[in-house]
């Protein structure tokens, strides 16, 4: 437990000591500003659509990508991960600590902003508070899934940011909307499906069934953990190092 705690602490120090954390805070605050504008303007209150576009489509994956890809990837990149691996610590413990921190930081950055936005929009004219909170709950699961997947990506490739962006923008943004069969490979679709099951969905938008959504999200957290543990177990320093 002490080992796990120390690994979490070191990972946190590494993530929070970077300037990008400020950028992430600003990005996470963006929905709050939009919510505030809607509230003050007294305009439309189609909360689910706005939260979908702003949070699930943009803020959540981007924050999870930047945090997740750095949680383990930056240490692999600069070689300092070696100091964690030449210790008598099971490698899955290292993997679990990295993913736990990525999930925790992603949610810590996005949740407060999401809650505030949900309250602002949800209590606006015509909006429903309950549906906004349902959305936030679904976003927690979605954020955890994104952060897990992107942490693993950081462990597997040095181009995690590019691959992660391609996944969110091209795959989830374009293809998964067009091809129904690919929805099972989309965290966004699963998050929306869960939101719908929690009474926050847009009935006009076809999403995954609740059970399927839960399964996809659970797999998106568990499979990356196993893959990261395996990658660390088989870790080799690069040639020329």
């Amino acid at each position: 437990m002490r080992v796990f705690g120390r690994l979490v602490l070191v990972t946190l120090q590494g993530l929070l000591g970077r300037r990008r954390i400020v950028l992430m805070l600003l990005l996470a605050a963006l929905p709050v500003l939009v919510g505030l504008a809607i509230r003050l303007g007294g305009g439309r209150a189609d909360a689910p659509a706005i939260l979908d576009t702003l949070v699930i489509r943009t803020v959540l994956p981007l924050v999870a990508l930047v945090i997740g890809s750095a949680a383990l990837g930056s240490e692999i990149e600069d070689g300092t991960v070696v100091y964690l691996l030449i210790k008598p610590v099971p490698r899955w413990v290292v993997a679990l600590a990295k993913i736990a921190v990525a999930v925790g930081v992603t949610l810590a950055l996005t949740l407060p902003a999401m809650l505030v936005t949900g309250l602002l929009i949800g209590t606006a004219q015509g909006g429903s508070l309950g549906s906004s909170l349902g959305f936030v709950l679904a976003a927690i699961a979605g954020g955890a899934a994104y952060a897990s997947v992107f942490t693993t990506l950081g462990a597997l490739t040095t181009r995690a940011l590019v691959v992660g962006l391609a996944y969110t923008l091209l795959w989830e943004g374009a293809l998964a909307g067009l091809l129904e069969g690919t929805r099972f490979l989309s965290i966004r679709q699963a998050t929306l499906g869960l939101a719908a099951a929690l009474g926050a969905g847009d009935p006009d938008v076809a999403t995954l069934e609740p059970i399927a959504s839960l399964v996809v999200l659970a797999l998106a957290i568990a499979v990356p953990l196993a893959l990261t543990a395996l990658a660390l177990q088989r870790f080799q320093v690069r040639a020329g190092d």
């Binding site: 070191v10 240490e75 070689g79 070696v82 040639a239």
Partner: protein
């Protein structure tokens, strides 16, 4: 060449019955026909040896495969062929070996946002030491880093980083210590301090293997030497016999003088000279005895009334010494 007890060119015979039994005579580090290749490039070529207590120097020019070899031993690379044993176990993918092993990698990078003390504490806690805080304090003092202990590592000089890395490797007082170019970036005083530290650890029965491309470092610290060149084990044994091999090899000089032809015939009369020829307007001389030749040369030239303009050893680089050892 005769092998010392510390370095044997062939692996020790396998221990009977259970290899990990407490009293089994297991070599601390043991390689059996280990090779490692990357695609078509062979980085390590069929290396076998076994190491016991004491300081062993892993000597070779840059790019010879020293780091690859240390990474194989430390379990950070999987061998393409052959078998590595560290503390009686296969180290690749088995983190439990690190209870007994400390590694100082060559790369300079350490978590820059940690202080030296935090880095030592991280290592102590990941080792599962009961009193990690005390162990961290102790090792910081051992590597002489107390003054800078609470500064971030990003502010450290190269030599301080080396000592922080050493602190991380020593915090659990390991039986086996692997160091990759540990003296890089250290000033002479730090180098002396570190050498005496490693010597006292060796005297206490620790197994220490360190790599270096500098002959003097190995000469001053190591009792036994492994010479690696182009991925092969070129020589192994105690330092003196390797040193003799290095000085006894044929040396070549090129000479410019006022009369190369007459100087050549005068030199051929010397017992230490076994070849002299004129190549591209220069006199090339081969000798078996570096010291005797350089002593005799001036006298020979003066006796024959020839003026020397230039005398240059052509193959005195460590590189050529190593390649000679491999061809031998």
């Amino acid at each position: 060449m005769t092998a010392t007890p510390a370095v044997a060119s062939e692996p020790a015979p396998p221990a009977p019955a259970t290899p990990n039994a407490p009293n089994a005579p297991v070599a601390a580090i043991e390689l059996e026909h280990v090779s490692r290749w990357y695609g078509n490039v062979v980085a390590i070529n069929d290396i076998s040896f076994a190491l016991g207590p004491g300081v062993t120097g892993l000597l070779g020019p840059n790019g010879a495969g020293k780091s690859t070899l240390l990474h194989l031993i430390a379990g950070l690379l999987a061998p393409s062929a052959g078998q590595v044993r560290l503390a009686g176990r296969r180290p690749f993918g088995d983190p439990t070996v690190y209870h007994e092993v400390g590694l100082v990698p060559e790369r300079e990078a350490i978590h820059p946002y940690l202080t030296g003390h935090q880095f030592a504490l991280l290592n102590a806690e990941l080792q599962g030491l009961p009193d990690a805080g005390a162990a961290a304090d102790r090792v910081i003092a051992t590597v002489d880093l107390t003054e800078a202990a609470h500064r971030q590592i990003r502010t450290y000089s190269k030599g301080m980083r080396q000592r922080a890395k050493l602190a991380g490797a020593l915090v659990h007082d390991p039986r086996i210590l692997l160091l990759d170019e540990p003296f890089n970036g250290m000033d002479p005083r730090q180098r002396l301090h570190m050498m005496s530290l490693l010597r006292s650890m060796a005297a206490a029965g620790r197994v220490i293997l360190f790599s270096s491309h500098i002959l003097e470092e190995v000469e001053r610290l190591a009792e036994a030497v492994l010479v690696v060149y182009a991925g092969r084990l070129a020589a192994s044994g105690d330092f003196r016999s390797i040193r003799r091999l290095m000085t006894d090899r044929p040396h070549r000089f090129t000479i410019r003088s006022s009369d190369d032809r007459r100087l050549a015939s005068a030199l051929l009369a010397q017992p230490a000279v076994f070849g002299a020829e004129l190549v591209d307007g220069l006199l090339a001389v081969r000798t078996s005895d570096y010291a005797a030749f350089t002593r005799a040369l001036a006298g020979v030239a003066r006796g024959a009334g020839i003026r020397l303009f230039e005398v240059a050893p052509t193959d005195d680089s460590l590189e050529s010494v190593f390649s000679y050892l491999v061809r031998r």
